[in-house]
């Protein structure tokens, strides 16, 4: 039987066209109506080093990068060496041979397709077209829609002149012919095209940038940091179009400070960073809590601590995001599951910051940063924008005046009679310093109390499954996508399992956790960090005693890992 949910991994040296080949396949599949989920790793070096791009495609919704690849396309010997242990029976292996730099051993059951990529490119007198030969071969072998693929290539190369385009197409067709001559010997085949859906194909970082623009930001300040910088790149291109400003600050302390200043001045403002930057921002986040100033920080998590593993995936900033400031410093923490969330939860996080006048931290992670996925195209008219509460100009204005919901109106600078101070000192209702015990307690109650309704403002959690289950899995961030698939596959095997997916990490929706746990015999919490950070919060804030499952090797979970663990603890 043909297999139509397939994972193609392309691997080689950085600069050989690994990434563009993957992008072409992903775009062609999306144009042919397929769902696409890509995953890539690249070297920490600027030139050279091992690069990998993996495309998973199917007609069915995709939630993760898959267990492993079904097809390996190796451009060089290193790509083969790194991946050879995963060449299991049934895998298709396309590789540069003969005249490549390696001579692989083909394990039993692996279907080999030697394609002379380098030789063909050399004969055409252009080493740069090697990846086009590979692309042609992959297209022919695995039914990657040729029509949409050629459209993608035309769009890509048309700006580089007709000669460049025809050269690349020639290499593509040569690859196709070389593969056709070998004959089809495996079961992997992309489904035939269906009408294309109204989708974007976009990376997690670009999606945060798009969400920021749709969410109405007019000020963005950031400092370069892996793996978050692409967000600034996206915003830099588009924010002047909506009359906004992006500034590259001298460090992350300056970037969050500038965001706070711009927000006080009345503009929707945000920054994005990774763990080290969020660490530096801690003090100013406390200032935002104290002065009740809306700010959004997106943290694209990476391997830590210290400099850690900048290009690798980890979910290890939950402690920092929730408690990373001195004093009792309330904030809202959300975490995205996938690229779609990166768009609409960035909008939502901006709304939360404006409504609750506090810092909001939105957690993404390294696996989503560069993962491109097909997502429904957003409709600008359907985007809900919540503005901060503003003073109506009547009566005497007191910036921190108590109110039933704890939210006090703000006055934009320039408003007559609205003059007030935003201060990091403890203060009374009018903003004047006040260090009296009853005042400090009352102000804490105000600042924390206003967050009680956050759980109703957003969809805080999702439950996957009904009734009673033997195992309930609680997952956050990009691990959710892996668990969704594991739950579906376990259920298909007759195992009673449910999933619980918090998007609001803090304030913790305790009642939701406990209601879910009441329907499960055991609770499993898989997460990509060493300490089991979500498990820690669950033990601290709920009556649940979870089984923590952690990995921290710089890569995401696979569905099989979760499924095996569930079977083990049943």
């Amino acid at each position: 039987m043909e297999k139509k949910d397939l994972v193609i991994r392309i691997a080689g040296e950085g600069g050989e066209g690994v990434i563009s080949t993957g992008d072409f396949i992903a775009a062609a599949c999306a144009r042919a109506g397929q769902e696409v989920y890509t995953f890539k790793t690249f070297p920490a070096e600027i030139k050279g080093g091992y690069a990998m791009y993996q495309v998973r495609t199917s007609l069915d919704p995709l939630f993760n990068q898959g267990d492993t690849f079904d097809i390996l396309c190796a451009f060089n010997g290193e790509a083969y060496e790194v991946n050879r242990h995963r060449l299991v029976p049934g895998t298709a292996f396309v590789y540069d041979y003969p005249a490549g730099d390696f001579e692989p051993e083909i394990p039993d059951g692996v279907i080999a397709y030697p394609i002379p990529m380098s030789q063909t490119a050399k004969d055409m007198k252009s080493y740069r077209s090697k990846n086009m030969v590979a692309l042609g071969a992959l297209s022919a072998l695995f039914n990657i829609n040729e029509k949409t693929l050629i459209e993608v290539l035309i769009d890509k190369f048309k700006s580089k002149g007709p000669e460049n385009l025809s050269f690349n197409l020639e290499a593509f067709h040569k690859g196709k012919e070389l593969a056709a001559a070998l004959g089809k010997k495996d079961l992997w085949r992309v489904a035939d095209p269906v009408p294309a859906k109204d989708v974007l194909i976009i990376s997690g970082n670009d999606a945060v940038g798009l969400g920021a623009i749709l969410g109405g930001i007019r000020f963005y300040s950031a400092y370069p940091i892996t793996p978050a910088t692409e967000i600034a790149k996206f915003v830099a291109v588009h924010i002047p179009k909506v009359m906004g400003t992006l500034i590259q600050a001298e460090d992350e302390i300056a970037s969050i400070s500038q965001v706070l200043g711009a927000s006080y001045a009345g503009k929707r403002a945000m920054t994005a960073t990774s763990g080290p930057g969020l660490s530096l921002m801690g003090e100013m986040l406390g200032m935002a809590s104290m002065s009740e100033t809306p700010v959004l920080v997106v943290d694209v998590q990476r391997g830590g601590p210290g400099t850690g593993m900048p290009t690798k995936h980890e979910q290890s900033d939950l402690f920092l995001a929730i408690h990373g400031s001195h004093g009792d410093a309330p904030r809202i923490v959300m975490a995205v599951e996938d690229v779609g969330d990166c768009i609409h939860m960035t909008v939502e996080a901006l709304n939360l910051a404006e409504h609750y006048q506090c810092p909001v931290i939105l957690l993404s992670d390294g696996s989503l940063a560069f993962s491109t996925q097909t997502v429904p195209a957003p409709k600008p008219g359907a985007v809900k924008i919540v503005e901060r509460k503003r003073w109506d100009g009547t009566g005497e204005y007191k910036r921190y005046q108590a109110s039933p919901d704890g939210i006090s109106p703000m006055a934009d600078p320039g408003t007559p009679q609205g003059m007030h101070v935003a201060t990091g000192l403890e203060h009374g209702p009018a903003g004047a310093p006040n260090h009296s015990p009853p005042n400090h307690e009352a102000m804490h109650r105000k600042r924390f109390g206003k967050l009680k309704t956050v759980v109703d403002f957003v969809a805080p959690t999702q439950v996957d499954g009904e009734g009673q289950a033997d195992v309930g899995i609680i997952a956050w961030g990009s691990t959710i996508g892996v668990v969704r698939e594991a739950v579906a596959r376990l259920r298909a095997d007759g195992i009673k399992v449910k999933g619980f997916y918090p998007k609001l990490m803090y304030p913790m929706p305790v009642a939701h956790y406990e209601a879910f746990a009441a329907t499960c015999n055991k609770i499993l919490v898989p997460e990509v960090n060493f300490q089991g950070q979500l498990s820690h919060f669950i033990r601290a804030e709920t009556a649940i005693m979870p089984i923590s499952m952690t990995i921290c090797g710089g890569v995401p979970f696979t569905p099989i890992q979760i499924m095996n663990k569930v079977r083990e603890i049943l």
């Binding site: 993608v152 798009l210 001298e250 302390i253 500038q258 200043g261 002065s291 003059m419 201060t423």
Partner: protein
């Protein structure tokens, strides 16, 4: 801020006083500087609703509380970048930054070069008393080595920095210095800073009778020396030569340097115009760029 565009008023200096009482020690130089600020605001005619006064932490950083305006009392060392964000968000308003030598040049020192070179349109008044007063007297980046203080019982092991040289080197477009004992000079220079479009830096010596026992009012009075009448304020080299005197036992008082250079917000505005930015830009055009 070039306050030319800001809404004007005809308030008296006292109208810029807030109802928060001033908390400095008797004899503190900061009183003179604060009064000079009231006078400068009055003479420049800045409407209080069109002004944001921003500070970090320290004795002088309390100043915004005492000024009738929008104001931010932020974190130690961070007034500059907070003000940068506010200025870029609202280039139509006047931005006044007030703080001390420790706040600006020690903990906040990493921000100073960037405000200067980016020419952020604001007026930065630095109350330079060569001491940390709020923490009861530790040596600061502008303390003289002979000063014995809280953490330097045998005298300081470091050379002081030269704020004027620093600002001139990093590209500030309005650089001046005064002494709190000369409030009319202070007021004139602050007003000039408010009227200058670009990053204005005014260093004002201010005696701290409580903790800095060597930089007394008399010491500063003897130290300062009016900028020569024939000094050309557009000559950077001449300004640098004057600034270097501060390391030689004399200190220039007056305007050292003034240059016209596009401000950061003007350059940002040019970018908006370059892409035909509009508040009602069709966001579908951005969305469509991300289709497969």
């Amino acid at each position: 801020m070039s306050i030319a565009a800001v809404k004007k008023t005809t308030l008296k200096p006292k109208d810029y006083k807030s109802d928060v009482s001033v908390v400095w020690c008797p004899g503190c130089g900061h009183y003179g500087i604060l009064n000079a600020i009231y006078r400068a605001l009055s003479e420049a005619g800045v409407d209080p609703s069109q002004l944001i006064s921003i500070s970090g932490i320290g004795c002088s950083s309390r100043s915004p509380y005492f000024i009738n305006s929008y104001k931010m009392h932020t974190l130690h060392g961070r007034a500059g970048p907070v003000a940068t964000g506010a200025q870029l968000a609202r280039p139509d308003l006047a931005i006044l930054v007030l703080g001390g030598d420790g706040d600006g040049f020690s903990i906040g020192g990493g921000h100073m070069p960037h405000m200067a070179r980016k020419n952020v349109d604001m007026t930065y008044v630095l109350f330079d008393n060569g001491i940390y007063g709020l923490t009861k007297g530790q040596y600061s980046p502008t303390s003289r080595p002979e000063m014995k203080a809280y953490t330097t019982p045998y005298g300081g092991p470091e050379e002081p920095m030269n704020p004027l040289l620093y600002m001139l080197t990093y590209g500030a477009t309005y650089v001046a210095q005064a002494f709190a004992g000369k409030p009319s000079v202070c007021a004139e220079l602050i007003k000039g800073g408010l009227e200058h479009r670009g990053f204005s830096y005014i260093n004002i010596y201010s005696q701290c009778p409580s903790f800095n026992k060597i930089d007394t009012i008399e010491f500063y009075r003897d130290l300062v020396e009016a900028v020569p009448k024939d000094h050309d304020v557009t000559d950077l080299g001449a300004a640098i030569n004057l600034a270097r005197q501060s390391s030689e036992g004399r200190a220039p008082m007056g305007l050292l340097y003034k240059a016209d250079r596009p401000t950061l917000d003007q350059r940002m505005h040019a970018m908006v115009e370059g892409v035909n930015g509009r508040p009602d830009y069709d966001l579908n055009q951005i969305i469509d760029l991300n289709r497969p």
